[in-house]
Symmetry: C2
Subunit: 227 residues, 2 copies
């Protein structure tokens, strides 16, 4: 269960204020799948960072499973993110000097999982996204879509109950994109909550519900008909 209440985020550049989110309220049930769509600059990534507890709102609140995240310390937020949330960033945020497999192992290191089990799990997830022959490449030695798939693998490796994916197929051809969507679909069928930002309607329609954002506000929130 994810609940946001009148979320506002105002960025400051010197003395200019940029209101990225201007009052966002919604709730998402456990196990729901939701797509967030909207024009470039409308606030989607900002919203994802707030839901994922990577950033704090200027005003308003985010509740995860009934827990008010405003009240949590940095350490408590880090533990919450590591245990419950898998985040696929729009630009991946991979460690540039670590191999694909080391990047994917990182969340498991934080979770205190042992070396043998981490390596086994990281290999499995990388093979599932078609990168079994790229385990020891570093991000600069990978194509754009391969880096994206490493970021996806890393988000899934702690079996999170909430998956937040910001443009997960942006750099993927239709076949790799379909493979990734199939993985997300399977995770959703297992009962996980999946929230994804996308610009592509056919990707958005994999979810049960589409929220449309414009200039930092929700302008539409509809069920996807065939689901």
């Amino acid at each position: 269960l994810i609940e946001t209440k009148d979320l506002k985020k105002i960025y400051k550049i010197e003395d200019v204020e940029v209101p990225a989110l201007r009052g966002i309220s919604f709730s998402i049930k456990a196990g729901e799948s939701v797509s967030i769509m909207g024009p470039s600059g409308s606030g989607k990534s900002t919203l994802m960072h707030l839901i994922g507890c990577l950033d704090k709102p200027t005003t308003g609140d985010v509740k995860i499973e009934g827990q008010d995240t405003i009240d949590l310390s940095e350490n408590e937020l880090a533990v919450l993110r590591n245990k419950k949330i898998g985040f696929v960033f729009q630009f991946f945020n991979l460690l540039p000097r670590a191999t694909a497999i080391a990047n994917v192992e990182l969340p498991m290191v934080y979770a205190g999982i042992g070396l043998k089990e981490r390596t086994k799990k990281a290999k499995e997830v990388l093979e599932a996204v078609g990168l079994g022959d790229r385990l020891y490449h570093r991000p600069t030695q990978l194509s754009g879509g391969q880096q994206q798939r490493v970021a996806i693998a890393r988000a899934l490796v702690n079996d999170p109950s909430i998956i937040l994916a910001d443009e997960p197929t942006g750099n993927l051809d239709s076949k790799s994109g379909a493979e990734v969507m199939a993985i997300l679909q399977k995770l959703h069928d297992e009962g996980r909550t999946v929230i994804l930002v996308t610009h592509e309607l056919y990707v958005a329609e994999h979810a049960q519900r589409i929220i449309q954002i414009l200039d930092g506000k929700i302008v539409a929130d509809r069920a996807v008909s065939n689901r």
Copy 2:
């Protein structure tokens, strides 16, 4: 006129060889528009870097307007790129600590253009891509699609005769994507050569010709029917 002859590119990771391009030959006439499509990891960005003279092939040759680029010095290549080629990178390659307008002015600084003219031109191009109100934001203060549009603006600012765009709409919603495609179309109508890499067929079909790449080789090269 761009000509490639049996282009090969082999990357080395320790003692493992990764053959990214395995013999690519084609020629593109001045003023043609070409889309390059293919799966993630098939060699598209590698090919674009070789055509754009940002990297040298392992074997084979790239000829730009009859000039063998293999014979050119680093300085001569830099001048050729600055004068003739506008490159939109898959991940933008913006200077992270410079503003949008400073990033867009950079190619004009290299071309020796004066401050007043540079600033005027940079503002024009940024307004053309819808970023008139984001001139002084730095890349980390811009959304993904806004960063992409800064990269596009920067590629166009020296009025290049060849435009190489690697996934120019990857982070753009359909409206911003259509605006960018309209700009590229107009540049093509003006007689410039446009080569773009894309995963989306509807973007690819804006061109006159589609080259399909698979595992570092060309597997198809067809005219787009309605053009």
